[in-house]
């Protein structure tokens, strides 16, 4: 660990001291969001900064995608998340010197992200270049309860003499952002993307409304303020023009007194509603927030989080840093998903502009398993977003000459934005991943309205996709050819085992749902013939197996391919995709991220324990983890086959991906799926939780370094807790109806009495090896 670190604390992420170089990283880790609004953790005074960033989920600008050689069906337009009107900015003039942490001296500088209050707090004691000292404290929230609202409570106090202070509180649109692209056309499209529609100000309130040039989306941002001052010797001004609204407050503050201000921000956007309607909406939201007041917003926020932690908390005993990391992870997963409400959950949440703000399969395969068992309404909303894009997915399938629906590999609004089809369009497994997330949610909630309104149609249309992508060969086997599995170091292959198993599941679930919902199925044109064809295709599905090696090849011929020359691959050549051509990666045995191993986890009911152990060992030796979507799955399978120390190392890697900036790109936003992976590694890894076909089972086991793990989850309205100790497990029902569960293969009923069960011996599989230089860091508890 060369990089400065966070202070370890069970319920907080805290950074003491000033390190300008680290600002761009902490802007992501200190980001606040509620799934609708996201504010990067920039300093109130706006500068110094890495990247400014205020995001509205789903709000994007559009641009042409260029191709050196275009092909039929290549997407024409890309989408990029827009840095919208920045309301975080509160500038300060101390006498005649602007507060700027690059100048003068920070006597004290502490920032704290608090997982229980849901706020970011700051305390800065600053000495200006000429020696004037002030203390700034701020606290900021993006409300979980009032979805359109963010607020900042900001206080300045002079530490020496009486002092004159001028505060400027801004709404600032079209902030200059350093381009992250070499393509001048992309940069041009995103340079000043917002066109002003309206600007007005009165009293302490101002509103700016804009629309985007190409995508034509409209937005409004408004601010209002409360001033708290011991005296009334104060002068204020407010003004608004196209891209800037500003409240200026000037006051002479005696020593021992302070100037305090609460800034309320409201945001709204729409592709349909008029600018006037959006202005009305943010105005109304502001008045609601003022009515609640700062203390009221704080109280609502804490209450929302109390409920969340009561349902979802994880306690890790024996590694304080991982305890912190797991709660940090859960907090950010919540922030990404809580109030999205039929918008996507982007891969970076709303913490940064990475991946252009797109959502991928990450959502359904990594984030939704967490939300399903911790805040199921958020999982439902994310799936409703997918459902809302079904027409686009049907159109995309048609373009691709397929039946049913083909969901995009990467998108903001539901249209495919992937500019490299072998690792985009061809990754059809996303459709089965969505279907699986739908079924997981249904099993976990028995949400009948969702089933009839969304689930049946989603399952039917994805099943139809598989029927047209796959076919029966002359031997009667159902093959799925020419697709790309999760591992992006292999592309456009035949019979990817993960894809085939997930498609099988998709087909069977669709048939079952159609059977359970006959009239709905009829409306969708599904007859018994079609459902039978789904079942037959599922039964006939090719699942490759290499009898010589006694492992499952990831796809056709995979185990015949040359192995990557790991020993002659220097460590600085990772990630490989930046240093080797796809051509060389694709044709060799080298795995970017769990693929067959992901199948071992998600479709674990399709493999014997021996197969799992052999497969895990085989792929462990090939997997380089150049993706952050791998360590958690490897943790889960390492734990299942009995390599508890390895599982612990992978768990740590997943949980610390962003806190330790393992991929050196946290400045562009957090890896939400990897953070979700911290939960998965805990609950599915050490807890051994599996949910095949809605049957909840556990196989808990601790790594030797930990003395206890306790996790909570919700299932069919019941809340349970699982406390894992080295030799035994205590299951507790915290609320709700009794549940039928399974412990290391044995069924039991969990009622009001805790159930305490022993942990069986570890399976004795020999330790696997990783590629040269790619073993995870051996975790030493901190």
């Amino acid at each position: 660990m060369d990089k400065p670190s966070y202070e370890i604390s069970p319920w907080q992420l805290r950074w003491c001291g000033l390190d300008l170089e680290e600002l761009r990283r902490t802007e992501s880790t200190f980001a606040l969001a509620n799934g609708h609004i996201g504010l990067r953790g920039t300093l109130e005074e706006g500068e110094p900064r890495g990247l400014p960033g205020t995001y509205l989920n789903g709000f994007y600008e559009q641009r042409r995608l260029p191709y050196a050689e275009a092909g039929y069906g290549f997407p024409e337009d890309g989408q990029t998340v827009v840095n919208v009107t920045d309301g975080k900015i509160i500038r300060l003039l101390v006498e005649d010197e602007p507060l700027d942490m690059r100048y003068g001296r920070a006597l004290d500088h502490t920032r704290v992200l608090d997982f229980r209050s849901g706020t970011l707090r700051r305390c800065t004691e600053w000495e200006s270049p000429t020696g004037r000292r002030v203390r700034i404290t701020s606290e900021r929230l993006v409300s979980f309860t009032q979805r359109a609202i963010a607020a900042i409570h900001y206080t300045v106090e002079p530490l020496d003499d009486k002092i004159q202070l001028v505060i400027q509180s801004d709404l600032l649109a079209n902030e200059p952002v350093a381009s992250r692209t070499e393509d001048p056309r992309v940069a041009a499209a995103l340079d000043k993307p917002l066109v002003s529609d309206h600007a007005s100000a009165r009293g302490y309130r101002a509103v700016l409304a804009h629309h985007t040039k190409a995508s034509g989306l409209r937005m409004a941002a408004a601010m209002d303020h409360e001033l708290h001052l011991d005296h009334d010797n104060i002068r204020t001004e407010i003004r608004a023009e196209h891209d800037l609204a500003r409240l200026t407050v000037a006051a002479d503050i005696p020593k021992g007194s302070k100037l305090s201000l609460t800034k309320y921000l409201a945001y709204g956007w729409s592709s349909q509603r008029s600018s006037a309607a959006l202005r009305a909406q943010v105005d109304a939201a502001l008045v609601g927030a003022l009515q609640t007041g700062w203390d009221g917003l704080l109280a609502e926020q804490r209450s929302f989080l109390d409920e969340f932690w009561d349902t979802a908390d994880i306690e890790v005993e024996g590694d304080a840093e991982l305890q912190q990391a797991v709660r940090f992870a859960l907090f950010h997963v919540l922030q990404a998903g809580a109030r999205g409400e039929t918008r996507a959950i982007p891969a970076k949440g709303l913490t940064g502009p990475g991946y252009d703000g797109h959502a991928f399969w990450d959502t359904e395969s990594f984030v939704l398993p967490v939300l399903t068992y911790t805040i199921p309404d958020a999982a439902r909303d994310a799936l409703r977003w997918r459902y809302s894009t079904l027409d686009k997915a049907r159109a995309r399938a048609k373009t691709l000459c397929q039946d049913g629906a083909a969901f995009p590999w990467r998108s903001i609004n539901g249209e495919e934005c992937s500019g490299y089809w072998p690792a985009g369009t061809a990754a059809f497994h996303i459709n089965a991943d969505i279907a699986d997330a739908v079924m997981r949610y249904l099993y976990a909630t028995q949400d009948k309205p969702f089933e009839s309104e969304c689930a049946v149609e989603l399952l039917v249309e994805t099943a139809r996709l598989w029927m047209s992508i796959g076919h029966h060969d002359t031997h009667g086997r159902f093959r799925i050819d020419g697709v790309t599995g999760p591992d992006e170091y292999t592309a456009v292959v035949d019979n990817n085992v993960y894809t085939n198993l997930m498609a099988r599941r998709n087909l069977r679930a669709a048939a079952a749902l159609a059977e359970d919902n006959p009239s709905l199925a009829h409306e969708l044109g599904v007859d018994t013939e079609e459902a039978s064809r789904w079942r037959d295709a599922a039964d006939d599905m090719v699942v490759l197996y290499d009898k010589d090696l006694m492992v499952h090849p990831q796809s056709e011929c995979f185990t015949d391919h040359a192995r990557w020359d790991f020993h002659n691959t220097p460590v600085e050549k990772y990630p490989l995709l930046l240093n080797y051509p796809y051509f060389d990666l694709y044709r060799k045995q080298v795995v970017k991220q769990a693929d067959l191993v992901l199948a071992l986890h998600v479709c674990g009911d399709e493999f014997t324990p021996e197969q799992k152990a052999r497969n895990f060992a085989y792929y462990e030796a090939l997997t380089v983890r150049d993706s952050s979507l791998s360590a958690c799955t490897q943790a889960v399978m390492a734990a299942e086959v009995g390599h508890m120390e390895l599982a612990y190392d992978y768990f740590a890697e997943a949980a610390l991906t962003d806190l330790h900036d393992l991929h050196d790109n946290v400045q562009n936003g957090l890896h939400i799926a990897s953070l979700a992976g911290a939960w998965i590694a805990t609950v599915a890894g050490f807890g051994g939780m599996r949910d095949h076909h809605g049957k909840l089972s556990f196989a808990p086991r601790l790594p030797p370094e930990l003395t206890k793990i306790t996790f909570r989850m919700t299932f069919r309205g019941s809340k349970i807790g699982v406390e894992i100790r080295p030799d035994r497990v205590a299951y507790r029902l915290h609320s709700g109806e009794p549940l039928e569960l399974c412990h290391h293969g044995d069924q039991f009923t969990l009622g009001t009495e805790p159930v305490i069960l022993p942990i069986p011996d570890l399976p004795g599989n020999p330790a696997p090896h990783q590629p040269h230089g790619r073993a995870p860091v051996r975790r030493r508890p901190r």
Copy 2:
């Protein structure tokens, strides 16, 4: 045939009458070139026109290649052939009316491309809008003997009264060209690509020198004139500025008299030499041409062509249109390759801007087999071009993490310009195609200097490439994974049979050449260990075979893939790549162009006759011929397995591709490889010529529609003729040493006496079927 047609004539391509709509097509078919300079067949007066076009082989402009999502090793820059300074233009003012075929009336308008004189002749009688009548005759050549020279002999005569004529003879740079691309950046790069370096004029001579903006290549174009007039009442002016040089001639011409002018053009370009050196070069070339004179140039041209036809002519008896088409084809193949002299032979020759002027595998696999046996020095020069790019190919291999040399899929200067790697970079077979062309040339010529100067190194470096691309699997088989074969409707596959067989040949030939040239091999670092590894890999090469179907799968799993739904593919959806995504094409059994069938031809020694018949029938049912590189190969194999009528149909398709504009794109240039295919279909198809490992064999057979085919070729310095009649074949040695040949499997010696041998019975294979709607047109002889 809806389109107006050419008049049939054995030694000419003739078009009578005016059809402005057809101009853009005839500009390509009437193009003149010598492999160094190319002039499209535009009218002297410049307009109306489809595309102007004056090309210098190898002269290109460079531009950035854009990617929606870039990847390591994707080529950064593209190259596009430049329309250079146009010297073809001779404008005419008839009294006060400009000659323009869009106005007034064409009383007579005939253009003739003469395959024996090597000139394009024109005779136009034009009546101006006000009723003045003139006759214009012109004849134009691009000299085969004076490589830098083109010339135009231009005559005007008044048909009624005395008339005033003004002739303007131009050199015009940066002509506006309608953009063929949607990409504004590409259009910008090619809009006015030439920057003026020099312009001067004196007497009847002028010179313009330019360089390209981005690629920095320099060029000079010069013109001089001879005037022929019955009297001396004439006024001339000459001037030159940046992009225009113009000689103006005004004269009053009495009825019965004429004004005649010979325009001499000289072109030169270089990436190394200074502008001044280039100007001196074109000046010198002009003086040489003036010294030879117009009649001298005509005589040299005819003499060069007499020699060519004496070596290479094909006579077809029974189908006059195909007789014409075959000579047209040979003439244009000659024009593309004759005087290239270590420049590439582009896919369109120098007849149009199609494919950006790039050269592909077409050259080695289709064009060079023709040149090798008709004008072997041209084949040698084209291979010397490849050799000259060996350093670039080595660098490219290094970028791709491979040993040896990786030649570009498409290029002008030897650097990879392919912007879509699955159908570009991955098509590594081009390296074996080059090696095969080298060996064919060596076998056919025994050119020892070429062997030691170029061939050994080319073979060694391509063999090394295969050793690093391929590997031995656990069963000891040598596999080549993740490459693309000739069929572009399949990509990035394992063990493409064509590629593997060609790589095997490449490896064995390299080992043999290294053995024959021990000191050279030593210099190149080849020891006996390395050569043995090549032979072992060749011996262990995987050659797929489907035992159930008893055919060779094109690549792994190919015969297990779904068959394309040909019956539900409407005819207007061809070519498929413009109407279906690669994703769908790649994973199904549908073949764009001969791939396994090309292996049956080129590597015919690797298959039994029964395998050939079964494979041909199997792939015939899957091949849609969306590429012009297919019909000739299908003709060859149809003839070999005994489907003579089908072979005749494919022969006609290959020969008429451009004359009938079958792909509706002849305006962008001719399909040189398909024209070469007319020769291949004749000589390898009906003649059954094979040249495996330098042994020349024949298996002649006529289609029922023809009464005789005679073809000529040269082999090891001997010229032979083969006259095929329905029941017998006459072999004749026209010059040179006796040759050991083979007739339908029986060896014989061809000496000074003709050898007449009978044709055995046809093999009785059942007729194959083509995909719905994709059978070739049944040829009716014309």
